[in-house]
Amino acid sequence: MELKIARWESKGLRCPDGIVNLKKDGFKRFNFIQMPNGTGKTTYLELIQAALSGSLEGADGTTIGKYYLHSNPSDESFFETDVECNSEKITFKIEFDFDTEACINKSENNNSKVKYITSYAAGGGEQLPGYKPPRDIRRMLHSEFVKLFVFDGEFARKLFDSTESRAFQCLDSICQLNIFDKMVKATNVYYKKLVIETDRSSAKTGAGVTKAVNKKETYEKKIEELQKILSEGEIELKRIDKEVSNINSEINEDTSLGGNLKKKAQDKKNIVDSLDKEYNKVTQDYFDIIKNPVNLHKKFISSLNILQENLYRLKIPASATRAFFEELTDEKECICDREMNKESKDAINRNKEKYFDEDRASIYNKLKSDIRDKLNAKDFDVDVLSRKTEEFQKLNDQRAEAETDLQVALEELKMSAPKNLANKMTKREMLIKERGEISKKIEEIRSDIETDVKKTKSIKILKNAIKEQEKIIQEVQSNILLGEDINRIKALCENSKKDIKQGLKKSIINQCNNKLAEIFKGTKKIQIEDIEEHISLYKQAGGSEGQQLTTGILYLSILLGRENCNFFTIFDSPCGPIDQHVRVDLSEPIVTLVKKDGQFITFVQSSERSYFTTTIESAVDENKIFYLTIYDKDRFSEEEIPSLPKDKTVETKNAFFVLDKVFFNNFSPKINKAESNL
């Protein structure tokens, strides 16, 4: 893939207004752009990076605001660049909308924004809103990737800095090894969403399973005990019933008892049984009466009557519903024959809120009519509860009395009975008592509604608790398995990345060293020893600064070459801090490194020409070099500037753009101390 930059244009930003056209006389292999310090070289570099990578899309206002031009604000601010990707033109434009006040006051609350516009032939040639490069180049324009071909000396130097990990980061970006990091991140997110951020979070360890299993076993044991009580209780009840029945038969058949006493006891027993039956029925009826609230108190009746009467009197709900008025507004005329104009419609729409919708009206109607109808029904008996209470009380008293009579009769019978028969009667009493206790225990289990699983005797509640624990066990086990799978995937990603990186590293070191052997010979010979987080050179801490930069550029170009990328390179201020005598260590190799059909763009200041651009000039055909000098208007006196070639000069709002080799090589304005610190 070939990528060249054809032009860029900026307006109203912290760099000169105007157009830099690198394709004016066809693409050149070397492009020297000379700009004095403080003219906006770094801004150009950042804006080119931002335009290509879309990195300002969604950036905060303060980041955007730093491009605001304080000295000479403009109504319009934008940066636009054309690149050619395999000869197809792609235009990226960033339109700036500055929060002027915040920019001027350097406020932290800056609401500056940008708008990206993209256009290219395959996209229909239209201006597409947003950062939308063609799909096939998009991954190559990732912000980390763009830094590999649009960079400054600082970036290249970081490749050798042991405190940085740039060298490996570049490898990750170009070879897309960071896809493994993304996979690890994605699995972490998946696990977090599925387990950690859900109520399953407490149940993801082996200890969780043990706890749930123990609880389940406790509940199962409890159910077993309760079921044992039930089944043994049932058997006991049958046994007791049979025994009582046998004793009854024996007592009945025994002729030693007085017939009258026996009959009396039986009669008393029959009365108690009959009253018990009646008691149960009356109690049920009693509850049914209480279930109707108006039976509870006459004041409830009077209050409800007042409520329904008021609802009728106030006409709640009104006979017309909201729907009637909604339909009315659709008519041409109102029901009073007046025209249904906007004013009328508004009034109806405003007032219709006072009326209910049909459903609401229906429940209000039912409320008032139901109360009225039921309270005024002929069969409504206001005294039903007091009568039933009286009946219940009477029955209760009768029952208690009958029970006492029975006990007395039985005692009399026992007293008159021979000893063995009296013993049988005592035994019968004990059996009946025992039966009562067993029945009570069974009833406690069957009717328990205690929901606390630690206290309950309800088998149903315990079974539900077991299901809960089984669910937890299943979740814990699946969580553990999931956790293990996640760890396996992570280890697989990390190891794969490590292995691939080692293989790649070896191959890249070989390629770099072969090329370095061609470039630096004799005493200047340098070789890469290793590339870990940074590049380390063989048997020496560094090479000259020029050699380091050359190695850095070589490293980046080999990485780009692996992806079959012939990309333009922009190198800002390569020789700024480099002594003149080692600059050739950089300039000479660059001539070798830049491909014949490549595009090398460098921003320099006049002091960087010596042994850098001059060396390249002497090694390269003049037609292969583009010269441009850009400087701010009104910054230098006429004496400081060589005479301007008018036909090769473009004057813009705030700068001169001079496209001339001679001017380029003679441009050496004196920069005062204050400016040189800019």
């Binding site: 109690t283 409830f300 139901d370 209470t389 009717s447």
Partner: protein, 153 residues
């Protein structure tokens, strides 16, 4: 949703076998709360059902009416005045709900009365063991509470 918290349900444990639905307990508590004009906290657990059980369906308008009266009197709403009465009904009732009680106020205040009613019973009655005996004491206590309650005087 009608709600009755666990502790309140457990208080009825001695007679719970006589109940055909858990709502029986709720009803007894609710009526006691209305009778005594006593509300407890709005419970956040103990879901029962969101409609009137069959046995209570035909009395539901009476119960709703009593809630409306208690709340209107408690808040000083004049039920002889149309707009305030209409607003009161609109607040407590909702035609979308199966019970016709609105979620925000209708259910909420009913549940608070039920909670409060159970508090009264716990204070003034022994935990029940026999339904008949309990019902007799229940209706006596309820009458006493209504007689003291200004909402129904």
């Amino acid at each position: 949703m009608f709600r009755l918290i666990k502790d309140n349900r457990n208080w009825f444990k001695g007679i719970s076998k006589n109940f055909s639905t858990l709502f029986d307990m709720y009803y007894l508590c609710l009526m006691m709360g209305l009778a005594a004009n006593h509300k407890g906290d709005d419970p956040d657990s103990g879901d029962l059902i969101e409609y009137w059980p069959t046995e209570y369906a035909s009395y539901s308008n009476f119960i709703i009416g009593l809630i409306l009266i208690a709340e209107a009197r408690g808040k000083g709403i004049n039920i002889k005045e149309k707009s305030s009465t209409t607003e009161h009904l609109n607040t407590f009732l909702d035609s979308e709900e199966l019970s016709r009680l609105s979620l925000k106020k209708g259910f909420k205040e009913a549940n608070r009365y039920a909670n409060g009613g159970c508090e009264i019973m716990m204070q003034k009655l022994e935990p029940p063991h026999y339904l008949g005996e309990f019902l007799k004491r229940y209706q006596e206590l309820l009458r006493e509470e209504v007689n003291k309650n200004k909402n129904f005087n």
